[in-house]
Amino acid sequence: MSPARALLAKDLRAELRARQSVPAMALFSVTAFVIFHFGLDRATIEGDLASGVLWVTVLLAALLGINRLFVAEEEEGGFDGFLLAPVDRTAMLVAKAAALLLYLLLVELVAIPAFALLLLGPGLGQALPELLAVVLLVDVGIAAVGTLVAALAVHARARELLVPLLALPLLLPVLIGAARATTPLLLATGAEPVPGRWLGVLGLYDMVFGLLAYALFDFLLED
């Protein structure tokens, strides 16, 4: 088994046993929809408002997962064990980013149906394939940047404060792209095609920050 696969399996096993991140993130997103219902005082929403509410919720839920991503490594000495092993350090990045990506997909599996049920006016049926493409592009971006930010903040004193401060501005292009790309899918008058340029922006973002995380991650593990 490759080191990255072993690390990912370890993370998933720990998550399955302790259930720390995914249930909290899913619960948070459903709570956020209830909060948006009362905050906006609207029974149903559609169009740009709906896509904004959906992606802001996903982004904030992702912060919870990013915050916890390396905590076990830091507290239980996982970093030391990993650094002692004769394996490529990129394995840790790949495993953690894959774990975060999986968490996000699982959360969205709960959050998007809950959103359609609780808040969304127009039906989601015909827009589903395009929405899936946007979701994947967004999640890859969040996973790359989230892993980098989590690793940056894990040794800092005010870790829980720094993660949102660092991640939210860095993820703003993702939010812009996701919200703009999803708006035509959620129109009250029926879904319209996604403008290709926003998928392009999201893809470019994923590529740039994926490469950046790959190039910089080694420096965060040296000790």
């Binding site: 040794h155 401060l165 860095l170 922006v201 740039v208 920050f209």
Partner: protein, 231 residues
């Protein structure tokens, strides 16, 4: 070592600033439709260009630091980002005043350059909190460099995303500098830019010199204390 050439540089900076401001007030013509308030342009735009340049310079120095492991590059990166944050605050304040005077609102969301600048400013404002909440000095330098590079790469992507988001509803006809300026305005603008860049360099050199002197002082004190206990 860092103090060398500071005096002529300071004098050149003061002269350039005086020259730039005299040109702004006595030479450059008032703008045809914005009038006197347009002169804030000669402070706002050079400050924005220098601040963005400083952020990029900080990122380049951070790359150098990670490549060579030389702490001096980290210090340069820190000083550049630190000064750029201060200039950035000036950019936002002057931009806001200009927006109020010419568009009637303190903040306008459909001005992509201003909005992108705010986001970049917010991101770089995390540089110091991140840096100073890591205790080990060697790790502090390394992590700060990683952040500086990430944030530096974020700048162009962010500008692209914000500009596209605006272009969706507001097609832009003119660039931010106003396309073609009359010659007298261009000269004034260029001198203001040079003066601002000189100011940035001088302040940066002063901060580097002061940091270096502080480090030397601490090393000497430690040596003195070691000698005192040995005696």
């Amino acid at each position: 070592m860092y103090g060398r050439g500071l005096r002529p540089l300071s004098i050149a900076t003061v002269l350039a600033l005086i020259g730039a401001f005299s040109l702004v007030f006595f030479y450059a013509p008032n703008d045809a439709d914005q009038g006197f308030v347009q002169k804030i342009f000669y402070v706002h735009v050079p400050m924005a260009i220098v601040a963005l340049g400083g952020f990029v310079f900080g990122a380049i120095m951070a790359i150098q630091h990670l490549r060579t492991g030389d702490r001096r590059y980290d210090m340069r990166s820190y000083v550049a980002i630190h000064l750029s944050i201060i200039l950035g605050l000036g950019v936002l304040v002057t931009g806001s005043i200009w927006a109020r005077a010419s568009w009637g609102h303190w903040w306008v969301w459909d001005e992509p350059t201003l909005v992108s600048f705010l986001i970049v400013f917010l991101l770089f404002s995390c540089y110091q909190p991140l840096r100073f909440s890591i205790e080990d000095p060697e790790r502090q330098a390394r992590y700060a460099s990683v952040f500086a590079i990430t944030a530096g790469a974020f700048v162009p992507l962010n500008f692209l995303a914000v500009r596209l988001a605006q272009a969706y509803t507001h097609p832009r006809v003119l660039g931010t500098t106003g396309g073609d300026m009359p010659g007298s305005m261009r000269v004034t603008f260029l001198l203001s830019l040079v003066a601002m860049a000189l100011l940035f360099t001088t302040l940066g050199k002063y901060e580097m010199a002061s940091k270096h002197a502080g480090q030397q002082l601490r090393a000497l004190r430690a040596r003195l204390a070691a000698q005192a206990t040995a005696r």
